[in-house]
Amino acid sequence: MMSDGDSAELDRLYREWGPNLIKYLRRNLQDSRGLAEDIAHDAFLILWRRWPDVRNHPCPRAWLYTVARHLLIDTLKERSRVFFKEELPDPVRAREDDPSDGYVLSVSVWEAIKKLSDRQREAIMLFYFAGFKQIEIATIMNIQRTTVAVLLSQARRRLDGLMGWSLEEGQK
């Protein structure tokens, strides 16, 4: 059983990691907000039960995402949803809400991301949005590190082509 100090640590971890984890889950659950929070909470409870072991893990945040991802897959299987078909922001509404250049730019990036394969998109999300390193993404996705590197490389090339961007030159 965890001490009060451990409980405080769990609370700190939730404040630090919870929001991004919930966002990650929401994106994969087609924005089922309540369900994403349920899964995140179960993942944190598992983290709590295993904390004596996990606290010494090289990357407890990757461990947490790994657990959450497995719970997510189970949930999606139960609901017969396709894994990682992201519900990304609606481009038309976004443009109406805020027709600034920044938003139009974002919308075109989202549109391009939607066209990636499922695993390319997942790797991009974990790398850019959740801030994981390649080796941590390999852990979370339970695939080899080289596969992650290639997925990211392919995704960036594809985004580049889709959007007319050049990594070296910036916006064309």
């Binding site: 404040r15 072991d53 090289p58």
Partner: protein, 523 residues
């Protein structure tokens, strides 16, 4: 602004804001529930265990691929792929293609077509997810040798040292003692009985490599530990070599008494062989740390099991477990034991079905546990032999003699009444288990002579046992199949070895197709 900066910026979408304070409050409430409600704790622990298994499936598959052990690899890859791992799906497709070629070369065209069709399905999934393309690109690209184009774009604050930490096994708890990557695991299984034992050595897929039996001159715990440890070491040395590393051997020991498998402690062990011909000193173990002591002696990761649980594990690998995750097992030896497998996992409680009291008459015989009127007094071998002597009014020393007497036409055939009582008791016990667990299958392990319809005792016994569903109150639970298993000489030891593979090395039972080639498959 370049692509990297745009992508980094997308993570901060204000439309996706999370109400963190409400979430913290809910998490605190959930944590309190976890603390106060054992069922909630059980649910979370079950989820955690399932995730451990998911994590290990692909890791073990890759180890098997490294060893070119394609049968094992296929099993784990399929499980990982079924759980959504597209990289596993890709490798599974290749393994199945390989199997397909093998079948075609041997003229098994149906099987070849089946494998090829399944391979196409998995490959298609890997292609659709983008993993196939990535793996095929990776085969032609030495990512590690590339200039650090990707490394440069690692998120801010990345530290090289941290980047290279080995964290492949993220969700798994620290392993007990497991074979290293690319190495095979083995297990010794021992069935411990009063003054004797049977041992088997099995490989990672449960195949039996060798077996032996031994006598125990004493049941003093220290002497038993020395004898079992010596037998295990000798089997490993003779089959795998003297220098074979202990970390690659798991050790399972089962016996006819309640145990604490987590701690490796024997709660109580005091059974007696029903033989008047060879009288042995009585023995009595209570709260004895057999597991830790054996582990200290051998260096092998050790699992201690109740005997019926070991037989249930054998069923999980080789028997009805291939068709269902919900079954119960009853084992008839000197006493009677029970085990429940629910949703593919062993029920953790003791299931001491033989010690269920089934009569309020306190002047009945007393059992080994000093309980009166309990089920195994009629249903166990010791009880049958005692009852047969009483009914035949003739000294009968063992089960075979009881069955022989029951077969006679003279007055000693009254011994058959002992088999009748046993059948009634066992049917009652089966009905208890069915009403407790609601299984799809009921498995009864018994000495061959008790379920042999050529023998009068067997016919009488089975006549009663087959009626067990009549004592099940609700129609809904009566739809279960009864499987009869004569106890083979090494079945119990094999069950202990399979349990050791599973518990110490987390090797799961194989799917049905893989079991047909194993030595020791179901009769």
């Amino acid at each position: 602004m370049n692509l990297d900066e745009v992508l980094h910026g997308l993570g901060d979408n204000p439309k996706e804001a999370v109400d963190i304070e409400a979430g913290r409050e809910r998490l605190r409430a959930a944590a309190r529930r976890l603390h106060d409600d054992p069922l909630e704790a059980q649910r979370i622990d079950k989820l955690a265990k399932r995730i451990d298994r998911y994590e290990h499936d692909y890791q073990l598959a890759r180890e098997a691929l490294d060893r070119q052990n394609f049968g094992t690899a296929e099993r784990y890859l399929r499980r990982a792929a079924q759980h959504g791992n597209d990289e596993a799906a890709y490798w599974l497709a290749l393994v199945l293609q390989r199997h397909s070629i093998g079948h075609r070369l041997r003229g098994r065209l149906d099987k070849a077509d089946k494998c090829a069709a399944e391979a196409r399905g998995w490959h298609q999934r890997a292609e659709e997810s983008g993993i196939a393309e990535a793996l095929e690109d990776a085969a032609f690209t030495d990512i590690a040798a590339q200039p650090a184009a990707h490394a440069q774009s690692e998120p801010q604050g990345a530290v090289e040292q941290e980047r290279n930490r080995p964290i492949e096994d993220a969700a798994a708890p620290p392993a007990q003692q497991a074979p290293s990557r690319g190495e095979d695991g083995y297990a010794i299984g021992i069935e411990l009985q009063p003054y004797q034992f049977t041992a088997v050595l099995v490989g990672a897929e449960g195949q039996i490599l060798s077996d032996e039996t031994g006598k125990l001159p004493s049941m003093e715990p220290g002497a038993v530990i020395r004898a079992l440890a010596s037998s295990a070491r000798n089997m490993v040395a003779s089959k795998l070599g003297r220098e074979f590393p202990a970390t690659r051997v798991a050790f399972g020991v089962q016996l006819g008494g309640p145990v604490d498998t987590e701690a490796g402690t024997v709660h109580y062990y005091s059974k007696h062989l029903p033989s008047a011909a060879v009288k042995r000193p009585e023995f009595h173990w209570e709260s004895f740390p057999l597991g830790p002591r054996l582990q200290d002696e051998t260096g092998y990761a050790t699992a201690i099991l109740n005997d019926t649980v070991a037989f249930a594990e054998r069923e999980r690998w080789l028997g009805v477990g291939q068709q269902t995750g919900d079954f119960v097992v009853m084992l008839i030896r000197e006493g009677v034991g029970g085990a429940v497998v629910s949703n593919g996992e062993h029920f953790k409680g003791p299931v001491e079905i033989g010690n269920f009291r089934c009569s309020g008459v306190d002047d009945w015989e007393e059992g080994d546990t000093h309980q009166y009127g309990i089920l195994e007094l009629d249903g166990g071998v010791t009880g049958i032999v005692r009852n047969a002597s009483k009914h035949a009014e003739h000294p009968i020393t063992d089960l075979q003699a009881a069955a022989d007497a029951a077969d006679e036409d003279g007055p000693r055939h009254a011994a058959s009444r002992a088999f009748l009582s046993a059948g009634i008791a066992i049917a009652r016990g089966l009905s208890y288990l069915v009403q407790f667990a609601g299984p799809s299958h009921v498995v009864l392990y018994a000495p061959e002579v008790m379920i042999n319809k050529e023998r009068r005792g067997g016919r009488v016994f089975l006549g009663q046992v087959s009626n067990f569903k009549e004592a099940v109150a609700f129609e809904a639970f009566r739809h279960c199949d009864l499987a009869l298993r004569p106890i083979g000489p090494i079945d119990g030891a094999q069950g202990a070895a399979l349990a050791a593979l599973n518990r110490c090395f987390r090797i799961p039972p194989a799917p049905a197709a893989a079991t047909t080639t194993r030595t020791g498959a179901m009769r």
